[in-house]
Structures are given as structure tokens and as C-alpha cells.
Symmetry: C2
Subunit: 203 residues, 2 copies
């Protein structure tokens, strides 16, 4: 019997380098798949439908929301974001692990569902670095940057609700840390009861 | 402020390849040190005093035992074995992690002390392989082998008291698993409160 998959939930203040980390992570770990969120906001340059997000119409989103197809959803400045339930439960049931990259608010909504999951928080190297990264995004105005910093501070106060914390100092060492967490969680005793049981029978 | 070190407790039925794994592990991980047990039994060929065990006289052992210098101790077929308390607490206090390789009975004694520690159980690839490994040890009689197998079965029944389980199929993959567990545990949120606190202050 194959063990049930593990749901890994990763949050980080924007500017922590989370997207790059998550992409590199699923590329380098076998049996780990990204959960892709649905959104009604238009794609940004370089974003691919079905890869970065599933881009859908507002009407379509609301229909799915009504059918309770989302694990959690949010309305951010008029645009909807949702985590599809079906894909995640399908993958977990067949024993695959799922990586869900989501903001703190979304993660806390999932936590309240008491779903078994492993929560990882990624910190930027320093607050100074976070400011710099946000300022280098030409898309943001200085008001938007201040707002993002305010949100980052708020998000940080939820850090203790997570299981693990990682500082994204150097991408390679942050990746090593993430890989280690995923490998370790796969070895947790209560996830391997069947292995132990099968072993014991052969004594 | 440096975090307190983590105590890693590793148990395995004899013949699981635990000694080799532990030696390779401390060689390859920075900040991880082996706790060396004291024993009154004579050294086996190749065993080095102060490396594999600290070999002491029975009288000396009993004196230390009386002074409560052992975290746990046991009398196995008339020979004493003990885990020195001072070294472990010294290392943990200065922020170093400690690896303690110990039998299931010893591990359970430490567990009853409610010391904060991470418990790892190593399984041999299969029961068949364990029998073969024990039979290839020319030192053991067939009666001794049967006795070791009986103990292995008993030990296995305590497996669920541990935090992690690893199968020593191939030494390299078992080592990767152990390294991952150690790295992951270092990233546990409650062990990094100071880091998070310091980070939050700089916002």
C-alpha cells in the first residue's frame, strides 16, 4: 500500500524569491507537484496559463466557488484567487506530494480546515534586501512598496504558526533546506506505518 | 543569541549498519558531534578508546553511576554501559548538535526523562538481510543469532515511539535521509524564534 501524499504549504512575503524557489524545487524532487491556483486577474508578462496560474473569467470563478471547488479563495483588490480542491486531493490520494505556494492569509484559511499539511515560511535575507527587491520591481509605485512592506510585517507575525522557517540567503542553500524538509517529512514515523507493519510481518 | 543544540537519538536492531552510518554522518555534517558511551566491557578488535567507547573499570563506572553522571545506564550480561550526561549538556548548551547512537531500551529510558530530542529508527533492508548480516559476523553462534533476532523483533515493536524511520537499503540513500532529517530539524520554527524575533525588529 502506498502512503498518502504530503501537502507542503509555502508562504513568504513578496520579494522573498518564493516563485523561483518553488519552481526549482519541483524540478529537482521526484514525486512533488505544484498546485496551480486559479485567478481572474490578467496574466503578467511571461506568465503562462496552466503553469503559473490558471486564468479564468470572473463568471467562471464564481460558478466554481459556488460549487465549493476551492480549498480557499480570496478577493484581492477586486480580482479573485482560488486553490482548486480536486487536483490536490487527487494527487494526495494517489500518494504524490503537493507543493502549494500561497500567501499567509490563504495558508491560515487552510490551517483552519485542519487538513494534514506541512507549513514552511520563507524569509528574505533581511528587511533591507526585501525593500531593495521590491523597489527594483519597476511595476510598483513607492506607495505600493510601502503597502507591501506593511503587509510583509503583518505576515511575519504569523510565522510561528508554520512548522519550518528558512532564510533565502542564497538560493542554493535555501533549496537544500527545502529539499531536506521534504525528504525528512517523508520519513516521519506515522507516515510509514505500513512499511513498518510489512517489515514486522516478515520477522 | 545562538540556538540550543539538538539531541538526535538513533536506534537500530544490530546488523542494520548503524555504526557505519553514524560515523559517516558526523564526518559529513558540520556542527554535529557524537556522544561517546562509557563501558566496562573490553574493547573489540579495531575499537578505539575515546572514539568508539570510553573504556573504564567497573569500579570507576559504579562511582560515576553513584554520582549520577549518566543520562541512562544498563547492565548487559554483567557489563555496564552508560551515556555521560555532562558532555551532552555542554554541547547542547553551546549550540552544537549531538548524535547519540543507542539501543531501544536506552532510548526509551531517555524518553521517559522528557528531554527534548529527535528520535530516529533505522531498519535493515529486510529481515532476511538482517539474518544474513548477523550470520556473517563470525563472532556469533547460531544461538546468539537467534537471540539477536528475537531482540530485533522486540525492538521493532518500539519503532512507533520514534519521530522518523529510515530503511538502510543503500548506505548513500540512508545517509541522505539522515542528513535531511538533521537539516530539517534545524529549520523547525520553534528552534528559530530568536532569528524571527531579530528579523521582525528590523522591519
Amino acid at each position: 500500500m502506498k502512503r498518502r501524499g504530503i501537502l507542503f504549504i509555502i508562504s513568504a512575503p513578496s520579494g522573498s524569491g518564493k516563485t523561483t524557489l518553488c519552481n526549482r524545487l519541483v524540478e529537482s524532487i521526484e514525486g512533488l507537484y505544484r498546485s496551480i491556483s486559479m485567478t481572474t486577474r490578467p496574466p503578467r508578462t511571461g506568465e503562462r496559463d496552466g503553469m503559473d496560474y490558471i486564468f479564468i473569467e470572473k463568471q467562471e470563478f464564481l460558478k466554481r466557488q459556488k460549487r465549493k471547488e476551492f480549498l480557499e479563495w480570496a478577493n484581492v483588490f477586486g480580482e479573485y484567487y482560488g486553490t482548486p480542491k480536486k487536483y490536490i486531493s487527487h494527487m494526495l490520494n494517489k500518494g504524490s506530494d503537493v507543493l502549494l505556494s500561497i500567501d499567509v492569509q490563504g495558508a491560515m484559511k487552510i490551517k483552519r480546515l485542519h487538513m494534514e499539511a506541512c507549513y514552511i515560511f520563507i524569509l528574505p535575507p533581511s528587511m533591507k534586501m526585501l525593500k531593495e527587491r521590491l523597489m527594483n520591481r519597476s511595476t510598483d509605485t513607492s506607495k505600493a512598496i510601502r503597502e507591501r512592506l506593511r503587509i510583509a510585517k503583518k505576515e511575519l507575525s504569523y510565522c510561528h504558526k508554520y512548522d519550518y522557517v528558512l532564510i533565502n540567503n542564497r538560493i542554493e542553500s535555501a533549496l537544500d533546506g527545502l529539499r531536506a524538509i521534504i525528504t525528512a517529512e517523508r520519513h516521519r514515523i506515522w507516515r510509514n506505518r505500513d512499511v513498518i507493519h510489512a517489515f514486522g510481518k516478515n520477522i
